[in-house]
């Protein structure tokens, strides 16, 4: 009987608690100086180059990049607790998010020496920001059907196509785009490459996508014969798919998959404390659930750190976590509604309600994740 979800809880070393306290102190300090206001979904919506630089200054970007590449040579568990505290405070981590979380590990693993030297120290210092180009108008869950095309030219590639839902593309320096460089549409996972595209290049048009609450985080990015030099190819030409899937375990199980609404949780506790809102036991249930999600997520991180396979468990964490984020928003809305009065909590509920549909859609829908878990259990 396959039991890919059997995870032992992991007890953190005490120095991880010390690290948490350092981050909390930093965040209190930043808030005292009025440098940020907690927001829901801050890893998507909170773009602040200054804040990212401050975080970098404390050595909390590029934590898992080896020191010889300009990073801090620390473990995934240390990175994990720092990330949790930054998200708990709803702090504006969006600018460095993709660079630190996805681009850096990929460059470290598949990049050339030149790329590592050029980009890894810069990521660790919050000097270069990335966006991810994967989805397209005709390719959402079915990512292997992407149509963006790289045509071979002298010294590089000429890229044409459209990427959709690229968050932060209107701010970022580089985009890591999944592009077909050989074969044809229909070859699916074969012949796809990851190209690092300079977003200041000629031929790029970034069109904002306005969210239903009027906010702008996502973009449609149109490439019209954009030149990408060979030095922009990340890893091996044609092997982009396996590169993308190699990091899924980490990406799926991270604390952002259950802490997107953390500031709302904190505010809800305050409201219950002050009796502005009923002390419903449902809140206790969901608080317990968040602790369990933390424990499961941490256990997955520990497994991945020890190079144990944990992809099914990671998918389960994301599936449960994002649904719980949505459940918290729903519960908070029901609890605050009788006494709505333009309070901070009301504002956070509104923010969260508009962001909520995205929780279970982004980075692999919950329906797809259920299929991943089912496959891991041997059902398909």
């Amino acid at each position: 009987m396959k039991r890919p979800l059997a995870l032992a809880a992991v007890h953190p070393r005490s120095d991880l608690g010390d690290l948490r306290r350092e981050v909390v102190e930093f965040l209190h300090d930043q808030q005292d100086q009025g440098l940020f206001v907690p927001t829901v979904d801050s890893w998507l919506t909170g773009w602040s180059a200054d804040f990212s630089k401050a975080v970098a200054g404390r050595g909390w970007l590029g934590m898992t990049i080896p020191t010889e590449h300009g990073g801090h040579g620390l473990s995934y568990l240390e990175r994990f607790v720092v990330t949790e505290e930054l998200l708990l405070a709803g702090s504006p981590v969006a600018a460095h998010w993709v660079a630190d979380r996805q681009a850096a590990p990929t460059i470290l693993r598949f990049g050339t020496d030149e790329q590592k030297a050029r980009l890894l120290p810069a990521i660790a210092q919050a000097e270069v920001f990335f966006a991810i180009g994967m989805s397209e108008p005709d390719s959402g869950s079915d990512l292997a059907s992407v149509r963006s095309r790289g045509r071979r030219v002298d010294g590089g590639w000429s890229v044409s196509g459209t990427k959709l839902w690229t968050s932060g593309a209107h701010h970022a320096d580089l985009m890591v785009a999944l592009v077909r460089t050989s074969g044809q549409h229909g070859d699916r996972q074969q012949g796809l490459s990851q190209l690092m595209i300079d977003l200041s290049s000629n031929g790029i048009e970034v069109r904002p996508i306005i969210g239903m609450n009027g906010s702008h985080h996502f973009n449609e990015v149109v490439f019209d014969d954009v030149f990408v030099p060979d030095s922009g190819v990340l890893g091996s030409e044609g092997h982009g798919w396996s590169q993308v899937t190699s990091e899924l375990g980490f990406e799926r199980s991270g604390p952002e998959r259950f802490l997107s609404v953390a500031p709302l949780v904190t505010e809800l506790l305050k409201a219950i404390r002050s009796r502005a809102v009923d002390p419903s036991p449902d809140v206790g249930q969901i608080l317990a659930r968040f602790q369990a999600l933390h424990q499961m997520s941490f256990a997955v991180a520990a497994a991945l750190q020890s190079e144990q396979e944990a992809d099914t468990a990671a998918a389960a964490v994301k599936m449960l976590g994002t649904a719980s984020e949505g459940a918290l928003v729903e519960l908070a809305d029901l609890l605050v509604a009788p006494t709505r009065d333009g309070r901070v909590i009301d504002e956070l509920v509104d923010q969260a309600s508009a962001q909520r549909p995205g929780f279970t859609l982004r980075g692999g829908t919950n329906e797809v994740l259920q299929g991943v878990v089912a496959r891991g259990l041997g059902l398909r």
């Binding site: 007890h11 607790v81 500031p263 317990a288 389960a316 059902l379």
Partner: protein, 342 residues
Amino acid sequence: MTKHAAGTDAQEVSVDPDVRDLIETVTGSHECAEHDHGWWGRLDELGLSRLAASEDRGGSDAGWPAAAVLVKSLARRACAVPVGESDLVGDWLLERAGLPAAPGLQDVWVDEGRQDRRIVASTVESVVVLRCDGGRAAIALAPPTIVREREVSGRWPDGVTWSPVPVDVARGAQLRLALVKGLRVVGAMESAVDVAVTHVTEREQFGRPIAKFQAVQQLVATMAAESALAAVAVDAAVLEMALHGDEMDRVLPAVAVARSCAGHAAGLVARNAHQVLGAMGTTKEHRLHRFTMAMLAWRSEGGDTRTWDRQVLELAVGRHQLGDLDFNEHLLVRHTTPGGTS
């Protein structure tokens, strides 16, 4: 030398692989008959009946992690024999009351004045009863016949010897009992998931295993994930008990979180398991009900789910940390919005 991930205390709470193997081999594919005292006798012969009790009380002093493996393993077999209760709670209470170890197997009952559970008299030698009354607590070691009198009449007969215990000992015992029940729920859920997975991959309808239908995959994936989530929470509480068992401010939140998660998961797992098993899973003959009915009964022993939910909330509202994740630390927001303050 086992490889431990940087940042963990894995070594301090790992279970001796030989002990783990012995437990798994012995419990094997045994499925308990309802009142299986003979099964306890076998465990006793093999030195597994008192894993956590100290050596001078006839135990192995192997600690919570090892005892937890046994409790879960027995629960996976739907075994109702209270080995964990006896070892981790009953004997622990007797010790703290200054009483010697009792012979044989004990069940543990917290008498809150209600008839919330029938003690299965034929499986145990005696029952450790805990009563709390206002600011005082006391225990008694009662034979099953006396317990039966209490069940029938609603009162304890004269002649029962009550030994006082400090209130914090009583609270500690209740947490230990709650965690044992949580481990049972997790074990039963694991078996229910196994039964469901096996069934959907073997049962064919419309020319294919029903596992091929997405609706069925969704039910099974969800129950497996929820079961795993609860299992990690219970496991984390076992770690807290093993490493910080004397610190109420650590074990209470951990157990409350674990019991809340396990209780809610049990409801979902039982429901989904029966849904994918279809009609045959509802019969006495089929083994599924032994796991699903057990998890639903056990989730309300040693405290019920809703009460644990409230306990979690009370701790959080009181600014107690529930675990590593602390929602209380943040938000010094100086928001002032029209019509209100933060």
